[in-house]
Every structure is written in structure tokens, then in C-alpha cells.
């Protein structure tokens, strides 16, 4: 069935696109892998759009076979995880990751949690986990106080983001601090202090989910989908909105989604906030040295850092060591290799997620007998 506007992703960006499309009388279909809408921030709390079709629990693994006039990609971002000794232990979870698990039913009442990594998300996670009854012992931000102060001082430009600035007043918040080693019952930080904790929630910022835009053939510049002020990508009829065009949070995502949905120019200056965020939370190069030769880099295939020597690029390392060959298709170790060695992603090939054989074969099967 052909739709007018096909939207991939039901996060803030995708939902706003759906509203926009609806407002100008276009027929839209939103596809999302989750069982409910709202994306990473709202997780089931987002309002669906009346008059727009939604298909949940459906993965877009290939764009061929989908029919549409316009395609709006709103695939969002994932967390960047950096390897350090102990990061594969079961109590080490993503920061947004732990929050997502809590939203999906994990009870953290009374749990002692250390949050570490980088970016404003850490503070949002701290607030949410505290609200859920957890005891947040520490929020460790790798960037410096100087950069943080400059970031906070600039927030007046974006009044709606002041709330995050106020959160900077969290008494457990420390800058210039990062984890160096996790052990079964806790974590040792870069200042040498060890914390006992039930969970170490760790995320070093966000990286865009570029697999679908790459399938579509969209140009990617400096790690994000390139768009004009109409949110048009380099491919005719394909738009990109939200975190995949630059990490900038929910207001940017919604503004871009709305613009693409109704086919208007984007309102407001979001580019400045995006670059301010990136500068303020830029990862210090010292973090490259956290992993020891024995630290696992590729969690699917258990490839240690010491195995990854003497290669030209990701494909070379993959072919020779299996790094990135596993189930996640390099979604976790790929950005790590980029951070460590500057190796860029390979081309995306369908299927971008593991897909049942039966999903490929013809519907009415003729058997041999």
C-alpha cells in the first residue's frame, strides 16, 4: 500500500512530523520498532496523532518494498559507550539505558546508583531515577567545570532549557570526573575513589542512528545527515529530522519534525544549541586510554582491544578479528572504533537488523513434492 508520507520513528521528531503532515491534510504512516510511541524520551508517554496510521513492533530493515511519496526519517540516537576495565559486567548499564529499563518496569527503589559519562542526559537520568526511588550517589561528568560553567551561562538564550541549568545545582554532580574501572560491587573513579553501588549507569553522549538514512543513500557530513532548512536530505523526497541531523534534544526534534511534516522551513535557531552542546561536552582525549589491552571492545564477538592492531579500517578489523561482525552489527563497537581510531562506518546493507529467513521467502510456497 502506498502512503503519502512515510515516517520512520515515533519519537518526538517523528510524532511532530506526523502532526505536521496531518495539519496540511497529508496521509501519513508512522513505523516504529517499539511497542509504543514516544521514542527515547517519552517511552509510551507521547501522544499519538489522531488521523495518522501507526505501525508498532515493526522494524525497518530495508527500504525497498516500502511505497511512499515522501519519506521522513526520524530514527533518533543511541548512547555512546566507551570501553574501560569492567564495562561488560552485568551491573554496568547505559545511563539512558537504565532509565529506559526503569520506564519499562525495572524497580530501582533503594538501589545505589553511580551515574557517569557525559552530556545533559546524565542529569535527566539522575532526576528520573531519584523520582523512581533510587539513591543516586554521584553524577560524574567527564567535561571540565570551566566548559560546564560556560555552557550554563549561555542557557539564557534558550529559556526552555533553563530547567537543565537548574539541575546543574544537583549536589551530587561532579565535573572532570570519569570511571576508570568497574568491579563486581562498584566502580573506581578517576580521582581514585571507589564507590559501592548496585548499578553503574554510564553513557558518553549520543550518536545518531544512521543505518536507515544510509540505506536511503542520504549524504552524511561530520557524522550527521545533511539537511537544508526544509529538512531535505541529499536524496529527493527523503527528509531527516531529530537527533540524526544533530544532537539537540526534544525541542529541536519537534521543530524539525513539524517543518518536514508540513513542508515548511524550520523555525528557530537550533544549530547554535547543537554546536554549543557538542563543544561543551566534547570527550577528552584521555578517555581513549581507559581500555587496557585485555578490555573487550566488541561485546557481541568478545574481541579485546589488543587484537585490534595494524588494520586499515573497520572492515579490515572486522574481517580479521570479527570485531563488529556480531548481532548488533557494530552499533556499539563502531562508534568506539571511531572514537579510538577515527574509523568511519561502512556502508549500510540490508537487513540492518537480524531478520527471520521466513520474512524473505515468498508467501505462498511451492514445495518440492
Amino acid at each position: 500500500m502506498k502512503v503519502d508520507t512515510l515516517i520512520v520513528g515515533a519519537g518526538p521528531a517523528g510524532l511532530a512530523a506526523a502532526r505536521g503532515a496531518r495539519s496540511v491534510g497529508r496521509k501519513a504512516l508512522v513505523i516504529d520498532e517499539n511497542w509504543n510511541g514516544g521514542g527515547q524520551i517519552w517511552r509510551g508517554q507521547g501522544r499519538l496523532v489522531v488521523g495518522v496510521a501507526f505501525e508498532f513492533e515493526r522494524q525497518v530493515v530495508d527500504l525497498r518494498g516500502l511505497e511512499y511519496d515522501r519519506l521522513i526519517l526520524a530514527c533518533g540516537a543511541r548512547e555512546l559507550f566507551l570501553p574501560f576495565p569492567g564495562w561488560t559486567l552485568p551491573h554496568v548499564v547505559g545511563a539512558g539505558g537504565l532509565q529506559a529499563l526503569v520506564k519499562n518496569g525495572l524497580d530501582v527503589r533503594g538501589k545505589r546508583i553511580v551515574i557517569a559519562g557525559s552530556g545533559p542526559l546524565l542529569l535527566a537520568v539522575a532526576a528520573n531515577l531519584t523520582k523512581a526511588g533510587a539513591e543516586v550517589l554521584l553524577v560524574a561528568e567527564q567535561t571540565s567545570w570551566t566548559k560546564l560553567a560556560r555552557f550554563a551561562a549561555g542557557l539564557w538564550r534558550w529559556p526552555s532549557k533553563m530547567a537543565q541549568g537548574i539541575l546543574l545545582g544537583n549536589p551530587r554532580y561532579r565535573a572532570g570526573l570519569w570511571p576508570v574501572r568497574a568491579d563486581a560491587g562498584g566502580v573506581t573513579m578517576s580521582d581514585g575513589r571507589r564507590w559501592d553501588c548496585d548499578y553503574l549507569a554510564c553513557g558518553f553522549g549520543l550518536v545518531p542512528n544512521l543505518e536507515v538514512p544510509r540505506l536511503a543513500g542520504c549524504a552524511v557530513v561530520d557524522g550527521f545527515v545533511e539537511v537544508d532548512e526544509w529538512q531535505r536530505t541529499s536524496v529527493d523526497g527523503v527528509y531527516a529530522v531529530g537527533e540524526i541531523t544533530g544532537i539537540g534534544g526534544v525541542e529541536k526534534a519537534e521543530a524539525e519534525g513539524w517543518a518536514a511534516g508540513c513542508g515548511t522551513k524550520i523555525q528557530g535557531d537550533h544549530a547554535r544549541f547543537v554546536s554549543r552542546l557538542a563543544e561543551s561536552f566534547e570527550l577528552r582525549t584521555g578517555l581513549r586510554g581507559l581500555a587496557t589491552p585485555d578490555t573487550i571492545v566488541c561485546r557481541c564477538e568478545d574481541v579485546k582491544l589488543c587484537k585490534i592492531v595494524g588494520f586499515h579500517d573497520r572492515r579490515d578489523a572486522k574481517l580479521q578479528t570479527r570485531c563488529g561482525m556480531g548481532a548488533c552489527q557494530g552499533r556499539i563497537c563502531g562508534p568506539i572504533l571511531e572514537f579510538l581510531y577515527g574509523w568511519e562506518a561502512e556502508r549500510a546493507r540490508p537487513p540492518i537488523l537480524p531478520t527471520k529467513v521466513s520474512d524473505f521467502v515468498r508467501k505462498t510456497r511451492v514445495t518440492l513434492d
Binding site: H312, D316, L319, R349, P354, V357, V361, R365, L368
Partner: protein, 368 residues
């Protein structure tokens, strides 16, 4: 070490070039490999890694058998990442007609020193319980094996000096790189697979595209490399497109699913309709595959010659430049036999294999 001082320069670091490098290094010669991209990153990264004896012709039987023996002799040295496993090939007969056609094979194989066994319906089911019930039987070649070719190429090329560069022209005992540099050597070997025609346009080598799919880990799901006996029909079909059931258990517990053959397609993109046909065929033989998950799909190009034999000989009209290409769907197997032929040619020794069978001059278009 300077590139232009080697005794032997091999162009191409696929499995064939790598095998040649090792063979010449073992003669005490110095070897440089010129590779424009990655070691083992061409067809070698795309292939299934099935080390198999094939009986299409006497010359093919001899080359695959000799090569398999050479792989076997390396087993004690092969590092674990090469994932060598003696899985055996189980050729599956879907019906009585296919089984009948294969009945003479056992004697044929055994007369040539290759163990083989005919299986009836019941023993086929015991050997490979997950095959669809009702298959007529099979032909088992127990000593065939499976390897992981990209690591094999890296291992075989150890000790050679690997230079990154694109060769633009090959002359007698010399070559020119894209950056203008000229290298000379006592012996030059062109092992550029399907791209050999870029350097030697007269060669009757055509790219034949193949699709493959690999699954998640399902350890124990399949025991042997399974191929339908109709495979040869597919491999030889003059038509532009064909598929055949071909499933290989990997050391990781994954299943590698093949295979398709296409002429006249130059674009390496994964084609939906070929994947559908290929997987459909696979499910017909192995119904449990339907519920398994495919992790990745990819394609590769086989360098096909009109008679399905590789071109392994002096380049016609030259005295120091050799060709090693046209290995089609068997280059991972026949890389070692190829290297042996070339070393013996260069050293002027007689060998196990009849060299003329693989010489470029068998094709009119190659004669000078």
C-alpha cells in the same frame, strides 16, 4: 624493506595471491605483495570457504583433490582463527533420479583416492536429521572441510612485504603503480581475481555474481556442508540466473547459506529477488531454516572461465610474468594447488598436476 628489490612480486592479496606468496617464501625467495585494498578483502571475503573436491572434469578433480591434500597437510599449523573444520560434504539427492545419477560417483572418487559414501534415505536422515523428510539419499565426501578464508589469506601472506598500491600495468617482470612507481622482479604474478581483465583485457574471464546469507548462531543445527545434487546444473547453467541449496555450518555455530549465480550483473548490490529465491530453495531442503534469523547478506564476484578451470601459467608472450586467475567458485580450495603449479613452473620442476590443463594457451584468445 624496499618494494622493488623482491625476487617475486604478487599482485593481489586474495587467497590465491597469499598462497603464492607463501609458496615462494618457502623456496627461500623474497616476496612483495601489492594490494590496492585489504588482505583477503576481495572475493576471498565473500566466499563460503568450502574446501571441496569437485568432479566436473578430470583436471578439476585433480586440482581440487591436490589442493585439499595440501590444506590437510597444513592443518597442524593453522591458527584457530582460520576455523578449519572437517565437516565433510553431503550432496543431497532430492529424488530417485538424482540418486541414480550419482550412483557411479563413489567408484569414481575412490579410484582417485577420495573417500566417499552413498547414503540411502534412512542413512541420510541419520547423518543430517534436519533435512526435510523424504529426500531420496545422498553422496557423502567425509574429508572435505571448511575454513575462514580472510584469516587464511592473512596467515598465508605472513612474511611477505605487503605494499598498498594499485597496479595499472603489468609487463614482463615489471609493473607500474597508479602513483607512477615502477617495480621490477624476477617473477611477477597477477592474482587479481575477477579484476585480472583490467590488466589483461584478452583473458576470457567474466565476473559471476553470487549472493550469500549468514545466520545468527544455532550450534548443532547442521552437521555437514549440505549441497543439492542439482548444484552442478546451477553451476553450469548457461542462463543468466540460477540458485542452488548450499548450507554450511560455521565453527561459530552460524549457518552460511548459498548460493546464487548470475552473469552480466556488475552492480554488487544485494538483490531482493535473488535472496528470496535462494532462501526459498534453502527452506525447501531445510525447513527449520525458516525460523532462523539472518544477520547479514552480501554478494561477491567469481572469476569465471568458459571451461570452469582457472588460468595458472606464464602469461602468453612473456617469460617472467604469470597469471593466476579464473578460479570461479573454487579459489579458496584451489589456491594451494595453484601456488604449487606456479612454484614448480618457475623452479622448472615436474609436479603432481598436469600444468597444461591450466595454461592460458588453451584459450584461442590468449595465444600470441
Amino acid at each position: 624493506m624496499k618494494a622493488n628489490t623482491a625476487d617475486v612480486i604478487v599482485v593481489g592479496a586474495g587467497i590465491v595471491g597469499a598462497a603464492c606468496a607463501r609458496a615462494f617464501l618457502r623456496e627461500g625467495l623474497s616476496v612483495t605483495i601489492v594490494e590496492r585494498d585489504l588482505v583477503g578483502g576481495g572475493a576471498t571475503a565473500a566466499g563460503m570457504g568450502h574446501v571441496v573436491v569437485m568432479d566436473d572434469s578430470e583436471a578439476q578433480f585433480a586440482l581440487t583433490k591436490r589442493s585439499r591434500d595440501l590444506w590437510d597437510s597444513l592443518v597442524p599449523e593453522l591458527p584457530p582463527e582460520i576455523e578449519f573444520e572437517r565437516r565433510g560434504t553431503l550432496w543431497v539427492a532430492a529424488d530417485g533420479e538424482e540418486l541414480e545419477a550419482v550412483s557411479g560417483k563413489k567408484a569414481h572418487y575412490e579410484a582417485r583416492g577420495v573417500r566417499a559414501e552413498l547414503l540411502d534415505e534412512l542413512s541420510l536422515r541419520t547423518a543430517e536429521p534436519s533435512l526435510r523428510p523424504g529426500m531420496a539419499g545422498g553422496f557423502l565426501v567425509p574429508d572435505d572441510s571448511v575454513i575462514y578464508a580472510p584469516c587464511a589469506a592473512a596467515w598465508l601472506s605472513r612474511g611477505a612485504n605487503i605494499v598498498r598500491g594499485t597496479v595499472e600495468q603489468i609487463e614482463d617482470g615489471a609493473l607500474r603503480l597508479r602513483n607512477g612507481e615502477r617495480l621490477e622482479a624476477g617473477v611477477v604474478i597477477c592474482a587479481t581475481g575477477a579484476w585480472a581483465v583490467d590488466l589483461f583485457p584478452a583473458l576470457p574471464v567474466k565476473p559471476r555474481k553470487g549472493h550469500l546469507a549468514i545466520t545468527e548462531r544455532y550450534p548443532g543445527a547442521v552437521r555437514h556442508q549440505l549441497i543439492e545434487l542439482g548444484y552442478l546444473k546451477s553451476a553450469h547453467s548457461a542462463g543468466t540466473e540460477s540458485v542452488a541449496f548450499n548450507v554450511q555450518p560455521r565453527a561459530t555455530g552460524q549457518l552460511l547459506i548459498g548460493s546464487s549465480r548470475q552473469f552480466g550483473v556488475e552492480d554488487g548490490a544485494v538483490e531482493e529477488h535473488m535472496i528470496r529465491r535462494m532462501l526459498d530453495r534453502a527452506v525447501e531442503y531445510l525447513p527449520s531454516l525458516a525460523g532462523m534469523k539472518v544477520l547479514r547478506l552480501w554478494t561477491g564476484f567469481r572469476a569465471a572461465t568458459p571451461d570452469h578451470l582457472p588460468i595458472v601459467s606464464l602469461c602468453p608472450g612473456m617469460r617472467r610474468t604469470y597469471l593466476a586467475t579464473g578460479h570461479e567458485g573454487l579459489g579458496i580450495t584451489t589456491s594451494l594447488g595453484t601456488a604449487e603449479i606456479l612454484v614448480e613452473s618457475v623452479m622448472g620442476r615436474a609436479g603432481v598436476l598436469t600444468k597444461q590443463n591450466y595454461a592460458a594457451e588453451r584459450f584461442v584468445e590468449c595465444r600470441v
